[in-house]
């Protein structure tokens, strides 16, 4: 263990547990699950621009899914929900992964242009593929573990664009229905990993607020099975 000093926040032994909730694609599923677990999320469902909502015995803190590990690791949120894709990409964030919540199911894939042989050709003749992705570390690990050399190009916006205009030979991205790929003339070449929403905890909160964390975990587990 090495000390990480910056960003250390208060784990807060008092008051309600702070739960980091992902905005975006996982939000609806998350709020539904919390409702099923007996946490009233009505305040967070409105049009409010607020970021923090009281929900009975927990406080909901809404944020980008990719920020959840940051807040939870620092203890600014005691527990949180985010996608496995985020956790894989930020594998060095020390958070406890307590539960697979089952929803938000999607696949991390390698995709290329339909009928296009560029991926294979680059690999064969240049010894290297160029891969655009929002998940550089997941991509690097995948190709490294399968013994292939790649140049990973990190992009922030629509990754599908990269192979269409020749920035990259292929992309590594998250696919739910596959419609976006299809509409952009791309197809899945390899499946890397399946991702779902996960329940995570700060390690100090997991120790110091053990009863509350365990009880919430149990409620979520039950609601997940339902």
């Amino acid at each position: 263990m090495s000390p990480e000093v910056a960003g250390a926040g208060a784990a807060g032994a008092d008051g309600p547990l702070k739960l980091a909730v992902p905005r975006g694609a996982l939000l609806a599923g998350t709020l539904d699950l919390l409702d099923a677990a007996g946490i009233d999320t009505s305040a967070a469902r409105g049009e409010s621009r607020s970021l923090i909502f009281a929900a009975g015995d927990v406080t909901l803190i809404t944020m980008r899914p990719s920020d959840v590990p940051t807040y939870v690791e620092a203890g600014a949120a005691d527990v949180g929900i985010t996608g496995k894709d985020v956790l894989l990409e930020q594998a060095d964030r020390m958070v406890y992964e307590l539960l697979d919540l089952g929803y938000g199911r999607c696949r991390m894939v390698l995709a290329g242009r339909k009928g296009d042989r560029r991926l294979g050709e680059s690999q064969r003749r240049l010894g290297m593929m160029r891969i655009a992705t929002k998940y550089p570390r997941v991509a690097e690990r995948h190709f490294e573990s399968t013994g292939r050399q790649v140049e990973v190009i990190e992009v922030k916006g629509s990754v599908e664009l990269a192979p269409l205009v020749g920035l990259a030979d292929g992309i590594v991205d998250l696919v739910a229905s596959g419609r976006t790929l299809d509409e952009n003339d791309l197809e899945v070449r390899e499946e890397i990993v399946e991702c779902t929403a996960r329940f995570v905890a700060n390690r100090v909160a997991h120790k110091l607020r053990a009863t509350e964390v365990d009880e919430l975990t149990a409620r979520l587990r039950e609601a997940t099975v339902k």
């Binding site: 263990m1 090495s2 000390p3 990480e4 000093v5 910056a6 960003g7 250390a8 926040g9 208060a10 784990a11 807060g12 032994a13 008092d14 690791e73 620092a74 203890g75 600014a76 060095d92 020390m94 406890y96 992964e97 307590l98 539960l99 697979d100 996960r198 700060n202 390690r203 100090v204 909160a205 997991h206 120790k207 110091l208 053990a210 009863t211 365990d214």
Partner: protein, 331 residues
């Protein structure tokens, strides 16, 4: 003009230094009053010597050659240098040795994470005193140190480093499978843990549930009974050991802060038996840790049981600030 310093290092200015010194003095007073004598060792050692102590991390993160071509390294903690010191300077000493230190150590950082490359540690090493008495003494000193730092809400987690290693051996899980299960336990990836265990032939539903449940048991004394109910030789051995330590602490009136945590695993390669971690509700990070390392001294040629702990000074200071009335609010 701005002249940069490497990320993960820092200057300390008088206001902070004054508070840090006060904290250092308070801690050293506690150590000295309990018979722990302060030692200093060089920040630079031979890489080979440091690597002997912690083969897993392979010596220090910062290595360089001296003018004679020798490979040197910056120490990454004080436990290994003190093991080296004891083996060299106190090889024939009798009775337990009580040593303490206040020193900077160096670790590699991951970029962009605000981690410290150089950080200050204050700690003790009790060498030649076996469990449970030695462990209890170290925890008592730690408890007093936290009191002296004014961290009245701080908690000491007490676990057993051998529990899962022995439990897996008992279940017939070895080699690579065991290492990957232990890695999941160390990072507390319960989803991954269940998946790893499911993939191992010969591990049934029940044994899987036992492993997962054990890793989640934490709390007061009652935890030991809950663990025992799950059964097994490894569990019996670990709970007996933890029970003895806890009783010794209760007898000394130092058990109030201690929470037993069977899921506690530290990633330093040399721990055996009891392991410790320190938390404060004001901070999301661990304030320090330690435990027993009965096999470490043997690697340096002296077979002595040992235990100790180290507090990360900067983090303790940060927790002090948060624990001041209104400290966490108006900053």
């Amino acid at each position: 003009m701005i002249h940069p310093i490497p990320p993960g290092t820092r200057d300390v200015l008088p206001d902070e230094m004054r508070e840090l010194r006060r904290l250092q003095r308070a801690l050293m007073e506690v150590f000295e009053s309990r018979g722990y004598g302060e030692v200093a060792t060089p920040a630079i050692e031979y890489d080979e010597v440091l690597a002997r102590g912690d083969s897993r991390s392979g010596g220090g993160a910062y290595r360089f050659f001296d003018e004679g071509g020798e490979l040197l390294a910056l120490r990454s903690d004080m436990t290994v240098p003190i093991a080296r010191l004891v083996a060299t300077r106190y090889a024939s000493a009798e009775g337990p040795l009580r040593l303490c230190y206040l020193a900077n150590a160096f670790r590699a950082v991951r970029p962009q994470r605000g981690q410290m490359r150089e950080f200050a540690q204050a700690g003790v090493e009790l060498i030649g005193a076996p469990a449970p008495g030695g462990t209890a003494e170290v925890i008592e000193v730690l408890e007093a140190a936290l009191g002296a730092a004014g961290l009245d809400r701080a908690v000491i987690g007490l676990g057993d480093a051998d529990l899962f290693r022995q439990l897996l051996a008992e279940l017939g899980v070895g080699g690579e499978a065991r290492e990957s299960v232990l890695a999941r336990l160390a990072t507390h990836d319960l989803v991954g843990l269940e998946a790893e265990l499911s993939a191992i032939d010969g591990i049934g539903e029940e044994q899987r549930a036992t492993c997962v449940a054990l890793s989640q048991l934490r709390g007061g004394r009652e935890v030991l009974d809950e663990a025992r109910a799950l059964g097994g030789v490894a569990v019996e051995r670990a709970t007996a050991r933890l029970g003895e330590t806890f009783e010794a602490l209760e007898a000394a009136g130092a058990a109030d802060r201690v929470r037993i945590d069977l899921g506690l695993l530290r990633d330093l390669g040399y721990y055996s038996g009891a392991i410790l971690e320190v938390y404060d509700p004001a901070l999301g990070h661990v304030l320090g840790g330690g435990g027993r390392y009965d096999g470490l001294l043997k690697r340096f040629g002296v077979d002595l049981p040992a235990a100790g702990f180290a507090l990360y000074l900067e983090r303790v200071h940060m927790a002090q600030l948060e624990e001041e009335p209104g400290g966490g609010e108006d900053r």
